[in-house]
Point group: C2
Chain length 373, copies 2
């Protein structure tokens, strides 16, 4: 194998695929990226952790065909430090020699035969195209509500539906639920059958980051019964479709609320962060007391003491005291793009909805915590 | 105890003294800062780890005298998050209540009786005053060459001498030696007796950081036989003088060198960082080969491969190959303020001097490593 490629393209490619490498696994080859020539003008980079595989294509001038694997981390470090525009790769025995103008590296790799087969082909029978920007924005808005990633936990997935020109995404870990709806153009689903899928939140979070490294306005998603391939520009993300029945989350969202408070988002963030200095680190509980156009927040830490803060709120209903894990609330507040947010309340033990005042289509439902006193 | 103080002053004071707290020690009170009223208009903050003590004075309006200790970290977190200009402190039972306009914290503390006695008074018989800027610059230039801090290791100290208007500072860990000389004004040592001291590099590094939080151009240093008190603005740093005979380092520095190379500093940093991707992590050896106006750097890692880089150098002596722990060289290069540096060489096993071309008074001597092949 021998080729010349642009350094920035190569580095960008490594940054994209290395998200699927396994750094300290049992199989050293999974820490590597597979580099293979494709025809006369391209090379393909591939990384996989079996669950998630990523491939990307880079332009190159191929002199001799071939394929080989190199440690992704070392290769990224080297490329990041090179000032040259063009880099030559040449395989000899078990090392690839990387040469710039005045720099030269011999990197020990592993044979491509040891690299797992990654099957990126998929039937084009069930595909859709969607705009990158609203799709990745929706991911960012719901991803924090998903449960921590575990292979067999459906709640670690994000459910995603495209019906005509409406995208709906949702995630829940049982304590909170985020749901977003966006109007999208350019979806190619037919109007009869909505496109539905349940994918690992980890994979979608990676997609959201990868999209910032690519230049495509459109994401193409194709699915078979167990497999999904997401194509963005020259990058393909291959993963399995999660199987099972996701909770019917729309039924969990109350339609009406007897009480509502409107608050300045940044004031609420500051006050929450102050009060949170003194909370029980085991449960992160902050008490919210709404009354007469004010919100009083308070925290209590058995070892350190307690805290209290008051801020203005538009609230004219009867007083209500309710408690939450403040981390859930802060995660929402730090993602939501709005100056004012509304909190829709019912009773101290009822599901409470946090939402931007400016956007009807994004809601963040949080279950309160029971207060002892 | 009851007082009102400016929030920024308090936070700055905590930032200064918390450097002497012991966060996870056997004595919980050492994680705390002692707060005590001084007369009608001041409070004093004190922290100590026994080896190093720091006190600082802050203006305040005292309503009731008293003293108490509070956890430095929690107190700093709270103050950093408050937007108020003035803060009220009030001691009741075992808690101090801190109140801003709309915020209130009850912090559980520990009685001042449990806090160790810090004796900041010292005889004024042996003192000097020195400008802050050249003194702290000299600390930064030598501190990385000191050995890691251990109570009984003289080489973890920095030796400091002021003779008339010349400040000389040096540190060595046995593998390298940094020495700096600066012309200073305003020293108040008498011309007969130079002022000499050996202080822990850790304490001087803290002093250098604390100086950025104070507004004084002058540092006053007083010493007794075993103790030293450094005063900068309203802050006092109290520590012990290290006892023993520091190596006669000036004798270790060769007076003449048969070979010399001149290099662009930033090019050398980039090339070293590239080559260092492939070094044996146990010894960090990079080989330097000087010949005919070039410097070739090379690294070798038994597992990962090897690296090579070439850069322009002004070098017209006969070729020389020599190897160093590249981390020592990078530490010097990242501190030194110069566009060009010179490397003064003798043989592959002789002490080598790195110095800025622009400054005769700062040298960084490094012992080479023996090359196997």
């Amino acid at each position: 194998m021998k080729f010349v490629a642009n350094k920035d393209d190569l580095l960008n490619g490594i940054r994209i695929v290395e998200r699927a490498t396994v750094v300290k696994g049992l199989q050293p080859v999974l820490a590597n990226v597979l580099i293979e020539t494709v025809g006369e003008n391209q090379i393909k980079l591939t990384a996989t952790d079996f669950d998630l595989s990523i491939t990307t294509i880079i332009n190159a001038t191929i002199e001799t065909e071939g394929k080989y694997t190199l440690p992704a981390k070392k290769l990224g470090e080297i490329l990041a430090r090179l000032n040259d525009e063009l880099i030559k790769f040449e395989l000899k025995d078990s090392t690839i020699t990387i040469t710039g103008k005045k720099s030269k590296f011999d990197i020990i790799g592993i044979s491509a035969n040891e690299f797992p087969q990654v099957e990126e082909n998929i039937s084009e029978a069930d595909c859709m195209e969607i705009e990158t920007q609203p799709f990745t924005k929706a991911i960012r808005q719901v991803v924090s509500a998903a449960a921590g990633y575990e292979t067999n936990n459906l709640l670690s997935g994000i459910v995603c539906q495209v019906n005509k020109n409406i995208l709906e995404m949702a995630a829940t870990d049982g304590n909170r639920l985020a749901r977003v709806r966006e109007v999208v153009k350019n979806t190619s689903t037919d109007s009869e059958n909505p496109f539905e899928m349940l994918i690992s939140s980890k994979v979608l979070a990676e997609l959201s980051k990868i999209s910032t490294l690519t230049e495509s306005d459109i994401i193409k998603i194709c699915k078979e019964q167990k497999k999904i391939v997401i194509t963005i520009d020259k990058t393909k993300i291959i993963t399995r479709l999660m199987q099972g029945q996701f909770p019917k989350y729309n039924q969990l969202i109350p339609q009406t609320f007897p009480k509502e408070a409107v608050l300045d988002k940044n004031s609420l963030i500051s006050a929450l962060e102050r009060v949170a200095v003194m909370v029980n680190e085991k449960n992160s509980i902050v008490k919210f007391e709404f009354a007469d156009n004010t919100l009083k927040l308070s925290g209590y830490s058995p070892d350190a003491g307690n805290s209290e803060d008051e801020l203005d709120a538009k609230y004219t209903n009867e007083p209500l005291a309710i408690a939450f894990n403040y981390k859930f609330i802060l995660e929402f507040l730090k993602i939501v793009e709005a100056d004012e947010i509304k909190i829709q309340l019912n009773s101290p033990l009822s599901a409470t909805v946090f939402a931007p005042c400016s956007d009807e289509d994004y809601i963040y439902l949080v279950m309160p915590v029971q207060l002892r006193n």
